[in-house]
């Protein structure tokens, strides 16, 4: 069993250190902005000064998770769709504008995708398995399946999650490469998964990814494999509008998260908190159809009392 022990998000919603995301949830309006905690109380000044926002968010959410679960993480598995975009663009700017050979290295160092998970291990002084997965819109799900694999192999306290950040350059790709009407946003979600129930209220029943041109039958097949049907889902969270849902409650999570490649990690947090919001809910399904040609499917269930 894959019990969710704790979960934290830093997003454009008031989502950090909250009992239940649904109580303050609002559709993003025109003056939405990232709601940042006080990073200084989580990250030493000597480290903080260099870090881009996505790194600050990742470390802070992870650290809060570590403080809540006590047991030192014995695996870390992080997903990111586009990685550290701010530093990537900064270094591209440097190499195109600075003449000569002497270039500032900091943006380059922090441009690599695994800076997020690497900084988490550095900050927590954690020597465990440390993995960074990136598969466009299903980056969170591939990281989550690895985290579940770690639990399957016997790990007891696995940190998993995803992080992505918006840069203004993305607006240039709107309508052509990125077809969405939702605002580009930044977000991180981190969760701790364990084989022990402890105080957990919900567990991950299954998570699967599919990269294929043929995804039409994937949802019913996935549900059938895990012995349930669409009507059993008390909540269906999905990203594309084309999915004809017959669930009891159907939510397009991008309305709340905005668009970022690993936004389904926020949906995972929403799904978890639905079991707090709705005392009778038993199952929540996330259909991550953010990009065509790939699908992430995650099924959460309330723990038995």
């Amino acid at each position: 069993m894959y019990f969710i022990q704790h979960i934290e998000s830093i997003t454009h919603q008031d989502s950090f250190r909250k009992e239940n995301l649904w109580s303050n949830l609002k559709p993003l309006d025109s003056d939405h902005a990232l709601i940042s905690p006080d990073y200084k109380s989580y990250i030493p000044a000597a480290t903080l000064r260099r870090l881009s926002t996505i790194l600050r968010m990742g470390i802070t959410a992870s650290k809060e998770c570590q403080e809540k679960v006590f047991t030192e993480f014995d695996s870390i598995s992080v997903g990111t769709g586009l990685g550290c975009l701010t530093d990537t663009e900064k270094f591209l700017l440097t190499i195109n504008t600075v003449s000569g050979d002497i270039l500032s290295p900091t943006a380059f160092i922090q441009s690599t995708h695994n800076t997020i998970s690497g900084q988490i291990s550095l900050d927590l002084k954690n020597h465990a398995y440390n993995m960074t997965h990136t598969q466009n819109a299903i980056s969170f799900e591939v990281a989550l399946t690895d985290a579940m694999l770690c639990v399957y192999e016997g790990k007891k306290s696995v940190l998993t999650g995803a992080a992505d950040e918006a840069i203004s350059f993305l607006e240039r790709l709107r309508g052509t490469l990125i077809k969405t009407t939702h605002p580009f946003t930044s977000g991180v979600t981190f969760a701790v998964i364990s084989p022990n129930k402890n105080q957990s209220i919900a567990h991950i029943q299954a998570c699967e990814v599919l990269v294929s041109d043929q995804t039409e039958n994937a949802v019913p097949e996935f549900l059938k494999k895990h012995r349930c049907e669409l009507k059993d889902a008390d909540l269906i969270l999905e990203a594309g509008e084309q999915f004809a849902s017959t669930g009891k409650k159907h939510v397009n999570f991008l309305t709340y998260s905005g668009y970022y490649q690993s936004a389904s990690a926020f949906a995972f947090h929403l799904a978890h908190d639905w079991f707090i919001e709705n005392k009778t809910a038993q199952k929540a399904l996330i259909i991550n159809n953010l990009e065509s040609g790939k699908l992430g499917l995650t099924l959460l269930s309330r723990n038995e009392a």
Partner: protein
């Protein structure tokens, strides 16, 4: 020389994003690296090389050279005035 040191301190703060510091917080002879001083590390040493190139036209090609030069604001200023 004191102008050079004051400029240097401002440039160090900017180049290394030492947002919480003002030039007055950096003593001329205080160690810049290690736990006793500002706590700077090997990445900052590379940023110092960028600073010297961009602001003073001084090129350091061997990072090992930096160990002596970047000890304090005094040693930096001394090196700049001799090599500019």
């Amino acid at each position: 020389m004191s102008d050079l040191k004051e400029n240097l301190k401002a440039q160090i703060i900017e180049q290394l994003n030492l947002e919480d510091l003002t030039p007055a917080d950096i003593q001329d002879d205080a160690p810049l690296f290690g736990d006793q001083g500002l706590g700077l590390d090997s990445i900052d040493a590379l940023e110092f090389i960028v600073l010297l190139d961009a602001n003073y036209g001084i090129k350091i090609t061997d990072p090992n050279q930096g160990k002596e030069i970047f000890q304090s604001v005094n040693t930096l200023a001394d090196y700049i005035s001799k090599n500019q």
